[in-house]
């Protein structure tokens, strides 16, 4: 084999080995590297109570209620299979809307009640002018 081809072969071999290692490592990391728990993960594998976790999903439409004290919000985070009630006291980001994505940082106080200490809004991959969105994507603004 010519030296040039030998080097080409070696580098391709090294690249394949590296790629394999990374794919293995990344799929192994899959659960650890996830940024948040989805409600169905919680159903499958509930995190310990009083452990700091992030819960992410969609804010169920019509579920956001402001309590009488004026600063506490109650809403439901859901995905296709499960829904979890969340309580949060504080100021939410602008993009926190019903029907939109949300990531709540906090703790489960009981297996069916999450208390958030911080709320992050998750934006999806759709970008469009308001007139385009029309009624199709209209989401409730939380005032």
């Amino acid at each position: 084999m010519k030296a040039k081809n030998q080097r080409l072969f070696l580098i391709i071999l090294a690249a394949v080995a590296m790629l394999g290692a990374v794919v293995l490592a990344m799929s192994g990391l899959k659960d650890q590297a996830a940024y948040f728990y989805a409600p169905s993960d919680v159903l499958r594998n509930p995190p310990a109570l009083d452990r700091d976790v992030r819960l992410g999903g969609m804010v169920r439409k019509g579920s956001v209620k402001k309590l009488a004290d004026g600063v506490t919000l109650r809403f439901v985070v859901e995905d296709e299979r499960h829904a979890i009630p969340v309580e949060f006291k504080g100021i939410v980001p602008d993009l926190f809307r019903e029907g939109s994505g949300v990531v709540a940082e906090g703790k489960f106080v009981t297996p069916d009640q999450f208390v958030a200490s911080n709320i992050l809004a998750k934006h999806d991959e759709r970008y469009m002018p308001p007139q385009m969105a029309g009624d199709k994507h209209k989401t409730g603004r939380v005032s």
Binding site: A33, Y35, F36, G56, D94, L120, Y127, P130, M132
Partner: protein, 243 residues
């Protein structure tokens, strides 16, 4: 490619190409970003903050394209010993790092009003930060290796190997939003599925990306010419010193 191995022949083409790419790319970038920022539509959810996308997305693409360039150049250097490959790889590092930094900074500024946080350690943000650090490491390594080789005017083989290994981060950045749940939104533009960005925002965005790419090409050529001139100067000095 070996036709351009001769620096004289390369320079003959690179010299006029630098200005052409810089001029066309710069004009395109400025026009498209200005259009997007001043006249483009606001987003139905994000409102005006969407406009930062016209800088953020091209910067992210070029941050990654820069390392792709390093990887290709490194492979050409290691396999075919192309004499200009090392020069090209090193020339990609600084502009790549700058674009990666712009991507991180604009993303952070966008994240504060949109997500409600400046920074979160999610898969996409973390892997992009790693890319930025890889650029810094690459630049430090190439400088150190050049200094260590000194007289022998080494080929920078360690740097090239590092350039190849670092490329492993590119698929991780790209697939981070697919493999893991991240705060960062999923991909909006895909070859297979088209775009979930409305056409009124997509076209200025693509224009800005093409413009920034041409500008990137101009910067790389400029830096390659500078390094070749440096080497030439050094050789001449050495010859003079030997007299």
């Amino acid at each position: 490619m070996h036709a351009y191995a001769n620096p004289a022949r390369f320079l003959k083409i690179a010299r006029p190409l630098t200005g052409l790419l810089g001029l066309v790319g710069g004009t395109m970038l400025i026009l498209c970003v200005a259009y997007g920022v001043l006249f483009g539509p606001a987003d139905y959810l994000q409102g005006e903050t969407v406009r930062i996308m016209y800088i953020h997305v091209p910067a992210a693409w070029l941050g990654m394209a820069g390392w792709s360039g390093i990887a290709v150049a490194s492979a050409m250097q290691l396999i075919w010993r192309h004499p200009l490959a090392g020069v090209a790889g090193r020339a990609c590092a600084l502009p790549g790092a700058v674009f990666a930094a712009i991507c991180l900074a604009t993303g952070s500024i966008w994240g504060r009003p949109t997500w409600g946080t400046w920074w979160e350690w999610d898969g996409r943000l973390t892997s992009m930060l790693v890319l930025f650090f890889l650029y810094l490491a690459y630049m430090a390594l190439s400088r150190a290796e050049r200094e260590a080789d000194g007289e022998t005017s080494g080929e920078g083989r360690m740097t090239a190997i590092f350039g190849l290994i670092g490329a492993i981060n590119l698929p991780i950045i790209h697939y981070s939003v697919l493999w893991w749940r991240t705060l960062h939104q999923g991909q909006s533009i895909s070859v297979m599925k088209g775009s979930s960005i409305d056409a009124s925002m997509l076209w200025p965005l693509l224009g800005a990306a093409v413009g920034a790419s041409l500008l990137f090409g101009a910067i790389v050529l400029m830096r390659m010419r500078a390094e070749l001139a440096d080497t030439k100067l050094e050789m001449r000095m050495r010859r003079l010193a030997a007299l």
